[in-house]
Amino acid sequence: MTSLQAIDIALDRRLQPTSIDVPSGQLVALVGPNGGGKTSLLRALARVELASGQVTVDGEDLDLAPEARRRRLLSFLPASREVTWPIAARDVIRLGLDRPDEDRIAELIALFELELLADRPVNHLSTGERARVLTARALASRPRILLLDEPLSNLDPYWVLRFFEIFETVAASGQSFLIALHDLAQLPRFDRALLIADGEVQMDEAPANLVVGECFGEIFRIREGADGDWEIRRPEGRRSSP
């Protein structure tokens, strides 16, 4: 069942008209060079002000959905972890809900191990701690689609793995994720990977197929070496494979 349907979404000149379908429960990775359009794709899906096109979630057009309905359909976590105001972590998470639900908040605090931080102002937390709070906020309303821009940066290794556990558990209940990534090491854990460069989706494959694609090598200028590690791909022109 297709959860997310995006038709001809575009953003300024940073994202060319793009169409995507994402079935429910899928973990989709967005990779690509800096400035290539990963963030723009997420922002366009999140319907920021200059975005054009149409996005439907579970049959509902996002642009027509009232505010109360929106947060059940979609949630966006931007890459910036900056928070201006000294709001308690617990209250930040509460902002993700439109109806007070103390049980849900307690559940998320436990899930992200925020018990000791719950009442501290979020702008006094470390970047990694803020990442946990803001991700909890994004998950709070149990949205059908989660758009996360580099959620794993600033996290220590324990939390990178914990986050994946959480994502996989949530996806199992039918919610889908589109996650922009910088670190390709986590790519294998995803169901699907999109390579975005120059404002367009260049490749849409299973992760394993993505990294061996010629396109991938050209864009990233790296390739997987014989021992499984990445190495720089020198532009030597066509030569026969070893």
Binding site: R47, P86, A118
Partner: protein, 337 residues
């Protein structure tokens, strides 16, 4: 911490905030009573001559002044909180952004140069002036400006508008205009009439009420404009609305009582203690804190028995400047930490 403990902590903090709110409301009532009745001697004297006279003094002289002080203080608090939420910056405020100075310029040009005397029309001139300077600020610094840019642009515009106001007054037809500069640039509530108070407070209440309705939206803007957009809000339209409504609220008040600084900066700062840091929810407490601060300042002005009255803005600057410096220092510390 288990669920039980979590709920206890929650209740304690909520209780603390509720207490603060009640104390604030009480402080407001006390201030209103004090401001209306003190000094009590003239009212007593009037009552002895003729009770009707005491009523007359109370209604025609004391009441407009108290209404203006409460309303102006509340308008400054609410628009200060709203502007800080919109610019995502705790230093944005009607005075720093240049709105107050722009309003004074608008009112002066309207009153002294265009010959507008009808109080509501003058209020519109003030609002137009405030809108102009706020628009200039957004044009110069952008809405997502960093603190330094915002401060510099806002202060530059404030200073320019203040200078222009003085110039407009010194070149005005009436030779007395020049001596009015103090009242326009530093505020005064002396001897204002009920119709002047109405001209200021009717538009200001309207605009303030519309701002208060946007509290939730402003709280969500605090998560970032993109997150707000994903939740169905329109950040740019919200910014424009906040700017326009703040301009009306502040502009109408300035057209009657002059530009008063620091209240719009400081009230939201304290209000966010009550609202738990939320910028939008801070608007109502900021209204009350602003009202209390301005009432105390005007009480101080009336308590000093001098021939020449001290402008209210001097008192607000006295308590506001140290606070402002402290804010800048803590911000710098946080940025360089």
């Amino acid at each position: 911490m288990d669920m039980h403990g979590a709920f206890d902590a929650l209740r304690n903090r909520a209780f603390e905030r509720q207490t603060l709110r009640v104390l604030l409301a009480l402080a407001m009532l006390l201030c209103i009573a004090a401001h209306l009745l003190l000094p009590i001697a003239p009212l007593r004297e009037a009552h002895e001559i003729d009770p009707e006279l005491a009523n007359l003094l109370l209604v025609q002289l004391r009441l407009p002044r108290t209404l203006l002080v409460i309303g102006y203080g509340a308008a400054l608090g609410v628009s200060g909180a709203a502007l800080q939420a919109t610019f995502a910056n705790p230093l944005a405020s009607p005075d720093i952004s240049g709105a107050s100075s722009g309003a004074a310029l608008g009112a002066v040009i309207g009153g002294y140069w265009l010959g507008i005397s009808q109080p509501l029309a003058l209020a519109a001139c003030g609002a137009a002036g405030a809108l102009g300077t706020l628009g200039l600020l957004v044009g110069l610094a952008g809405r997502k400006a960093d603190t330094a840019t915002l401060l510099l642009a806002g202060l530059a515009i404030s200073l320019a508008a203040g200078a222009a106001t003085s110039l407009a007054l010194s070149l005005a037809p009436s030779p007395f205009a020049f001596y009015d500069a103090f009242d326009w640039l530093m505020g005064s509530f002396t001897d204002r009439s009920l119709s002047q108070a109405a001209a200021a407070l009717v538009p200001a209440s309207f605009a303030t009420a519309l701002l208060l309705r946007r509290a939730r939206a402003l709280d969500l803007i605090g998560l970032g404009e993109d997150v707000a957009a994903s939740l169905g809000l329109r950040p740019r339209r919200l910014s424009l609305e906040v700017i326009a409504l703040s301009a009306v609220a502040v502009g109408a008040c300035v057209s009657v009582a002059g530009a008063i600084g620091f209240v719009g900066l400081v009230a939201p700062l304290f209000a966010r203690r009550i609202s738990g840091g939320h910028p939008g929810k801070a608007m109502i407490p900021a209204a009350m804190i602003g009202a209390v601060l301005l009432t105390l300042a005007d009480l101080a002005v009336r308590a000093v028995p001098l021939d020449r009255p001290i402008p209210v803005g001097v008192i607000t600057a006295l308590f506001g400047t140290p606070l402002f410096i402290w804010m800048v220092v803590t911000m710098r510390r946080r940025l360089t930490a």
